[in-house]
């Protein structure tokens, strides 16, 4: 890979442009590191790579070998293992069950079902299961 670096102390906004034949795991990790300040996750939608602001993400769910990312209006995909992605997500994301992370700021309410399971209703009406032992994490986030 050819790398061009331009240092200019008078720059208003720092940016990085990547010209790639295809997205790879290595590039995803590099972009993730750069993104930590940018508050967005670079995800796939159809054949395009788009930035999805963390604040817009409602649910992240493992689907096969990918992670499905749901916002209010769209669905995106991210190629990585959930454990790896979870480590870089900001603090508003908590694990609700195995393979599922939710943005606790996008929760509408919780429901205790007749079969003893706990459903989390998100602001987009999506239902997500919450394991009982994960309730403690949510309470901590809410300051309870």
């Amino acid at each position: 890979m050819k790398v061009d670096l331009h240092i200019d102390s008078k720059l208003d906004v720092e940016r990085a442009d990547f010209w790639l034949r295809q997205m790879t795991t290595r590039m995803t990790a590099i972009i993730a590191q750069l993104n930590q300040e940018q508050e967005a996750l670079w995800c796939y939608q159809d054949d395009q790579v788009k930035p999805v602001a963390y604040r817009d993400i409602i649910v992240l769910r493992t689907v096969g070998s990918q992670i499905q990312i749901t916002t209010a209006d769209n669905r995106y995909y991210y190629s990585a293992r959930m454990a790896k992605l979870a480590a870089q997500l900001p603090a508003q994301f908590i694990e609700s069950a195995r393979g599922t992370m939710i943005n606790y700021q996008k929760i509408d309410h919780l429901e205790l079902l007749g079969n003893g399971k706990i459903d989390v209703l998100m602001v987009n009406q999506e239902r997500v299961q919450m394991a009982r032992r994960k309730i403690k994490n949510l309470k901590e986030k809410l300051g309870l």
Partner: protein
């Protein structure tokens, strides 16, 4: 794995502490002049009282282990709550009953075994109901907080 080891250690500690506290209470209630870790008949099985205490401590530790590790079943998210409850009940009952017999808590007769089983079931159901009430209370608290924004 780390979580299970932590649970196991916690279970052993809790079992020993509870066993000691409960045995002390029973000793005082019976007006004992010396310490019996269990019934006097249990202690007569051993050459020294020290051996009786050591075996009791081991049994209390294993009881704690049964209850702490048995609860891991409720973490199996693919099972229905009913299945988890039934499996958990049998783990507790089949794990705890032999230990209680070994610890000399009751004679091994059908009448005592039946009354032990009935008491065990009542306590299990009670604990289950209390647990559901706690979860419901937690959910209500969370929902009130979410509504406040």
């Amino acid at each position: 794995m780390k979580r299970i080891v932590k649970k196991a250690v916690y279970g052993v500690q809790t079992g020993v502490v509870l066993g000691l506290v409960i045995s002390l209470i029973f000793n005082y209630l019976a007006g004992a002049k010396r310490y019996y870790p269990s019934s006097p008949q249990f202690s007569t099985r051993f050459a020294t009282s020290l051996d009786a205490v050591l075996v009791s401590v081991i049994l209390w530790a294993v009881m704690g282990l049964v209850f702490s590790l048995g609860a891991v079943i409720f973490g199996v998210e693919d099972w229905s709550l009913f299945k988890r409850t039934v499996v958990n009940f049998f783990i507790y009952y089949l794990g705890f009953t032999p230990l209680a017999i070994l610890a000399g808590w009751f004679p091994v007769t059908p009448a005592y075994l039946i009354s032990f089983t009935v008491i065990f079931m009542i306590i299990y159901v009670l604990m289950w109901v209390i647990n559901v009430a706690i979860v419901r209370h937690q959910i209500d608290k969370i929902n009130r907080r979410l509504k406040r924004g």
